[in-house]
């Protein structure tokens, strides 16, 4: 077991734990903070997988901007904690858990096949794979159109959010 692998598995455990905190805790603020922690573990994953730029962007944008937005809204709304089952009883609980288990089981099924095709465990990647330079080159050449569309999307989302969040003007 190489150090990388060891680190990977440790990180995986933390990721699962923090994701569990997000879904289980009653208090919304605690959930939000757990999510921040989770996002950081995912950033660690990215770095381990030679996607360094992405890892940094993850921390800055996701954990830094989006979660702050979440926290703002939580503070604004101050929601009360509530239970899980609500008006649908336990059927929702059991069926959901069952479906989720099925999903994971499906992945387990194809694992052996993957292990065969990917025996090498990943050959050496070219130098600078995942570095900022490589990403930038791809972004402004092959992926120019999606890049521009993404900026339009962000503009539209911003306008939409502005509009939806406005207070009603009562005449």
């Amino acid at each position: 077991m190489t150090p990388r692998e060891l680190f990977f598995w440790a990180d995986a455990v933390v990721a699962v734990l923090t994701a569990g905190m997000v879904l289980l805790h009653r208090n919304a603020v605690v959930c939000a903070l757990s999510l921040v922690m989770h996002l950081c573990t995912v950033a660690v994953f990215f770095v381990l997988l030679d996607a360094t730029f992405l890892g940094v962007v993850q921390v800055i944008v996701y954990a830094g901007a989006i979660m702050v937005l979440f926290l703002f809204v939580i503070m604004l709304l101050d929601p009360k904690g509530e239970g899980v089952t609500g008006r649908m009883g336990n059927i929702q609980l059991f069926v959901t858990l069952g479906a989720a288990l099925l999903l994971v089981a499906g992945i387990l099924r194809i694992l052996p096949a993957l292990a065969v095709t990917n025996a090498g465990g990943g050959a050496a990647v070219p130098e600078g794979f995942g570095a900022i330079r490589g990403i930038g080159e791809a972004l402004f050449s092959t992926y120019l159109l999606p890049f521009e569309l993404a900026s339009v999307l962000l503009l539209v989302a911003m306008i939409g959010a502005l509009f939806m969040g406005k207070k009603e003007i009562v005449e």
Binding site: L23, F70, Q92
Partner: protein
């Protein structure tokens, strides 16, 4: 090296946990957070695939997913705020109007 299968397994488990969170929590905010968990699991799978294939396309995909997630989070939160103003609650079971 980290095998692609392991990455997929972790991604799958995280995704399933995100789904369970979406389906079992009643607070709209926590549901949105669970959606973020799901998106991140997907991102993890993309990056892992990119590494194992050796192409940068996977990371690009993950990049754009992140952009879209940001937009979606913003709009989603705006909707929750608007809903809260109407109903004074974030409990999705209280807003069961999507029926005839």
């Amino acid at each position: 090296m980290i095998s692609f299968g392991a990455i997929l397994l972790v991604s799958g488990i995280l995704f399933a946990m995100g789904v369970v969170g979406v389906l079992l929590r009643r607070s709209a905010l926590v549901i949105l957070m669970s959606i973020e968990v799901m998106l991140n699991a997907a991102n993890l799978a993309f990056v892992g695939a990119s590494r194992s294939v050796g192409s940068i396309d996977g990371q690009m995909f993950a990049f754009f997913v992140m952009a879209v997630a940001a937009a979606e989070a913003a709009v989603g939160l705006a909707i929750i705020i608007a809903l809260f103003r109407q109903r004074h609650t974030t409990d999705v079971d209280q807003v069961s109007f999507l029926k005839w």
